[in-house]
Symmetry: D2
């Protein structure tokens, strides 16, 4: 077995083996570059600007598996970009089949046109697959939210129990974040765009070629045909404007954050002491032969890993763009490539894992109930105080504004003395202020989930149609 | 003069003294928190849920200048957020005027509601001002692009002269980037949103309050009225979903990158050796008494400073969001605040400086012409080769595919021997292949700017209407 | 109360009100700049190069409280750095008292000398205070580790229970990380360095001044005296070399990471379901009147906040340095300032909070014991298998290499059927393979903590002397 | 040709094909993991704890080329780390040759021991090679600095000409930064450390194994032997303390910044308008067939690319460490790997390119002289004012403190009216104040380079010995 000086993803289980990794691999990117070159030849041939019989050789050679990508990568150092050696190899391959056809390739184009456009193709393809997975995950989340719409669970704030809610309610917020990020992705994918400007971005060479060829087409018209053929938008040349790249990058980082939140929640919930959730079981995943009681939450661990990496990958893309200067940057542009691919790859893989995670999440309502019961009636003291403080004041037992204070002192005494709160209140509050039954109801956490289930209904219905498109 | 333990911006000339800094200062943020509290009281009073005569005291106390922000900041450490001490101080202030009114404040709300909503208000206000400045800068850029639509200038790629273009063409790309980022800002500003969920986000306390009060309004209806009053959108509660914050943050970093590109270009152009541009002169700016020949490009230096800082500030916001967990994060949420404000402040100030920069940019066409002439006819050899290589091949003087090679050897000889290219070509090319006049035209850089001026027209017209709205 | 356009730290409870914030405030930095200017005058006066009677006015004016820092900050925009307006104000103040003395200030110096040196002074002063706090925290950790050297606690890996250990053992690793980072700080603080090079870094102006003055001292000798007076090292000028700044910045980010780890552990342990730790109680900290059962771990939340922010602040300093160019960078240098101060401030405050946290941490051994017991004898199956697998194979009951597999099947059956493991093993294993007593011992988690207590002893003794210096 | 879903570096010319990339490739890392496993078996065999005749099979299988790294990477997802599938494959391979030997592998160890230790081995090996290259680059810089010790060149500040200096002086600051970062690397490489703690870090399994085996060795003694065999330090287990990793990461980012500064300077200097430097020429590098006048500074472009990426890679390592929790983090640890390797790889490749760059840099003293002459005598007005202002005041022609102002007005008039400064001064200054010869000398830039050449001598001698070790 030949060991190449390449990355297999050994250090990156966050994305190794993922579908997204394949869709934005070096091979996928080189294939995209070849497709841009080939599509341009088709446009020119359709216009009668190059001989149609060149196309057979041009198309036949536009297959990435024909090229030694290790050599392309190493040779890219000479000119600072991979298109230069790939184009040379492509021309040589075409010339083998049809020597004249080699001259029909790359007319009026420049490295940046091919690289930026190929990056956009990769974004479009990998992004579309990611979007499909986001929607599938959203569907799973909607199902999960509905199923546990009424499953009682305590909400937590700053690690502490705050108020009663339901598990479906928490899930509906997972959905809200993931779907919002997914909708942002959907919007930006519609803006993946051709870059076509020639050496400096002025289309001088192309225009001159059209004049020489006696063509009546404009450079714009040809660019529009190329964009159409590639399934991309056709804005004016943007080689010196990196906003289109930044705008695409952003949404992936948003998705990573949405997935990371879900993983964070799962990672708390699978702890032995919490026990509310379990990751889906899969053969060979997360088990430890030495420690049979362990069920490592590997999906969540790797999703979290991806989410932690994403902000810096985004910042790397931005830092590259910030170093943009003149008509082609002296290092900034180059910095965008690896980081952008890294961001898409890491995020897409996190989305895939999130889909698997939420589709098979094991939910343990009894643990949720047990945990919710830990602080018992204390969870609803907010309500009790809201009800009784005004009565205390109105009844004249305490001064205006003193009701709340008085009740809090009783709560504190209950906590300090480990005295149950209800009997204490019944004993200490003025007779007739409240009946025992009323107090029992007031202190019942399960009746204090507010709009939780309504929010489940509203959030799931908000995203149901979208997630099924 | 009292020296407080505060930041005046001494270490941050990138934003010190800017309009944006004022719009997102600690005072502006605290004012926004007070306004959220006050507006909520107005909503409740309109609904008859609190006494209308409480509003006078409530409104009178909602003025940030009444509070010791240094103390608020220090006391925020106790509960981990600034709303807690500010709310206490606010209640005390209200109680001084009307003791009963203090109980009408913050009903059903939680710290996160106020803080997230106030952040959105700050984004909305500072962002709107930034957008206005972006548009003003765009107008200035359109004017500049028109003025120099035909001013010849060499385009540069990887620091090197590439092809002829015009200065207006370069400016039109500045415009393209800034306007695109500005349009993204405009879109996201429409999505600034109220967060209103109560302690855990379930609206339990508010719902209970409505029941107690015998109100027929729903929590949603009240939230909608509050959002309307604050000029914000009214989505479902999103306390556990940080995508709305990330989405706002993104666009500021895009703007910073767009400004940074302009500054980078200016910083090259104001060099003594380049000389193509000068920053607008202003009393006391950029001068050095020790070195009178220096005219430091201070605007661009500080814009670049801001642009360099922005990616990390964005990554900081994202990292906070990635640490989001459960219903209120244990540190992640808190990490968003300072970074988000820092990002808005730095970016807004960069936009202000960019506006000033491009509005008064001094352009030196004669330096542009001199620099363009440095490589003379070499700039157009791409075109010459494109024209002559096929003729050479068709004429049978060289084999198929050899024309380009032959011409490049002549160009190389011209470079190596410092021989002028035109006479060399005339001497070495087969007689009759080309006339001297034709060759002169082919090698004339000024006639090889492609679509440059058309791109100026197209880009400026694309953004003209928008920038004037 | 005047509301200035300044930061009080309202958005930054991670550092607001901290000692470190005061030590690296705008005022502290401006004071440091004034001290550098003053100290240089003292050096020159000692050399007889300026009149000694100028020093009174020069020293009297070198007090930051005499200056309007808001104005300094705003005016810094004109020249791009704060020294320019401060120096002007300083000269004016000196001239008020002694007109001739103003000319004795800043001789041969440049803005960068003062700013870089003042930053180093701030690093030195704030850093020294931070180091003192680190050592105090280390002392507290040693005490805590000793106290809980033998307190049983389960170790966790990937959120799951792994093997038995002790709480003191975990604490000893907190110590290890914090002390290592502290030792790195101690080393780098010894390298805080004067920058003294004059306008371009060549010391031309100073050298010329010495010649004019007929001085026999070298520029090096004077710089050495200045460094000595300021308590800094005196390397050759390094204005164009930012490694000294990066090297200082690094150690703060390390400290933040060490503190963040402690906070992360505490934030898991204070959860209601875990219960192993409690933050130190303090009046008004972390309590919620609405939710009396909550005890928000505010110290840890804010430490985590600081730790999350630190990597990006470090990256911001680095990004500034990466943009370094020629003899003074056009924006890169400026980017270092705010980020460096932010990093020191955030980190120092995190260290302060960590000190408070570990000094008063409430430890609940009974919760630790309960949690440890959750998986009971399963925690020690690794040992049981290690002991019995070879016996099974040697006894011929299973083939070579099959012992482990056989035992794991029994463990799995125990888990699946919820059958206690020990009786199952006794029933299923070949008679005579092991006695019940022996098996009980093998499965006792409390006897399987390995070197845990030895590691406590070794780690605490490693850092005891250092932490008391 | 099989196209695998792997990275060849097509998107990363910053490091593709570099020596460092090979030294920290997936293969190199997997080889390091195998070596750790093998070395541990050797230690155990030497102690008589496993049969010596197992070693042949164990050593024979410890060759990375025997394994399918693509499969290892994909399978790593199951357990969240690559050691698990590699260990399984390793055991299978050993068992093929010697079934009993498989049980002798990995005794008492855990994934983290192998992964952390293998990372340290990779750091040690790649880092040592990088250090060698740093020293070679330092030697080249010393030569370059000596050669151009006296080559006049203008120093620049904020893009503007500041004062005269020499090119060797600038180079000596390149050296200063690179050598300081290199010395930091040298120091930290001495601290690359074994991690050896077993499943939770308590060494329980190993200790139990020693007891069972009747060994009298301590776990410490065995760890020390392993560390010694691997050429690493042997601290106490540090699995829960990431400072050792952060400390290694830091120095690479410092090196990247030092290289980036050099590249930035070159990228300015190779511009057509500046012309002071040229990159070393190499066959096929940096040339453009379409634009023959271009000589793209590809080395510097790719060094800058690497330098721009490094801060975010460092921040990614730190962010991973900040997410550290308990005894093995749930995603934070995993985030360190890819980023750390990325940082080493990017930096090492930048150092290699910097070595090549500075070893063959083409220097054009005549362009330096031309550029220096652009502002002529204005460059030395600082000195002129310093000399003449006191004379003017002492002579009574102007009041105290007015001399400088008067002279600056004359300079301004010279600039405004484009009047040569010297005749203007001679005409306007009081007769007898200065002779023409004296004034000529005062305004001669070439005599105003201060300590520039002395600094060259001092800096080069400071690092000469070190760079030759």
């Amino acid at each position: 077995m030949r060991v190449q000086n390449v990355d297999y993803g050994v250090l990156s289980p966050a994305w190794a083996g993922s579908q997204t990794a394949a869709l934005c691999s070096d091979a996928a990117f080189c294939q995209a570059m070849l497709e841009v070159e080939r599509a341009w030849c088709h446009v020119l041939a359709e216009e009668g600007l190059i001989p149609t019989d060149h196309l057979a050789a041009i198309a036949a050679a536009a297959k990435v598996e024909l090229y030694d990508l290790g050599k392309i990568a190493a040779d890219a150092v000479g000119g600072g970009n991979p298109l230069i050696p790939l184009l040379k190899a492509y021309r040589d391959k075409v010339a083998e089949a049809n020597p004249a056809a080699a001259a029909s390739i790359h007319i009026g184009a420049t490295s940046q046109d091919i690289i930026d456009t190929a990056l956009m193709l990769v974004i479009s393809r990998a992004g579309s697959a990611v979007l499909t997975t986001v929607k599938a995950a959203a569907v799973a989340l909607i199902t999960l939210a509905h199923e546990h719409r009424d499953t009682p669970m305590v909400a937590r704030s700053l690690t502490q129990h705050s108020l009663p809610a339901t598990f479906g309610w928490r899930v509906s917020h997972w959905l809200q974040a993931l779907a919002q990020a997914g909708q942002h992705l959907e919007e930006t994918l519609k803006q993946t765009a051709l870059q076509w400007g020639g050496a400096a971005g002025t289309r001088a060479s192309l225009q001159d070629f059209l004049v020489r060829s006696g063509s009546t087409s404009s450079t714009d018209e040809l660019a529009a045909k190329l964009a159409d053929r590639l399934g991309l938008q056709n804005p004016l040349p943007w080689q010196a404007n990196r906003i289109p790249i930044l705008n695409q990058a952003n949404v992936f980082a948003q998705l990573a954050a949405a997935c990371g939140k879900i993983a964070n929640d799962v990672l708390i919930s699978v702890r032995s002491e919490n026990g509310e959730l379990g990751e889906p079981l899969a053969e060979g995943r997360g088990v430890s032969s030495a420690m049979p009681h362990k069920q490592n939450p590997v999906l969540s661990v790797l999703i979290k890993n991806g989410a932690l990496a994403a902000p810096q990958l985004l910042a790397q893309v931005y830092t590259g763009a910030v170093a943009n200067v003149e008509e082609r940057a002296d290092g900034g542009w180059h910095t965008e490539w690896e980081a952008l691919r890294g961001l898409i790859r890491t995020t897409g893989a996190a989305v895939e894992k999130t889909h698997e995670l939420v589709s098979g999440l094991r939910v343990f309502p009894e643990w949720m109930a047990d945990n919710l019961a830990r602080h018992g009636e204390l969870l609803a003291t907010e309500r009790m105080v809201a009800h009784l403080a005004p009565r205390l004041e109105e009844s004249g037992h305490v001064g205006i504004g003193q009701g709340k204070k008085q009740l809090q002192e009783l709560i504190s005494r209950s906590l300090t003395d480990s005295t149950p709160l209800k009997p204490l209140l019944l004993a200490e509050l003025p007779a007739g202020l409240i009946t025992e039954e009323e107090l029992t109801n007031l202190l019942d956490p399960s009746a204090y989930a507010g709009d939780a289930t309504k929010i489940v209904d509203d959030l799931t219905s908000t995203y149901t149609d979208w997630s099924h498109t």
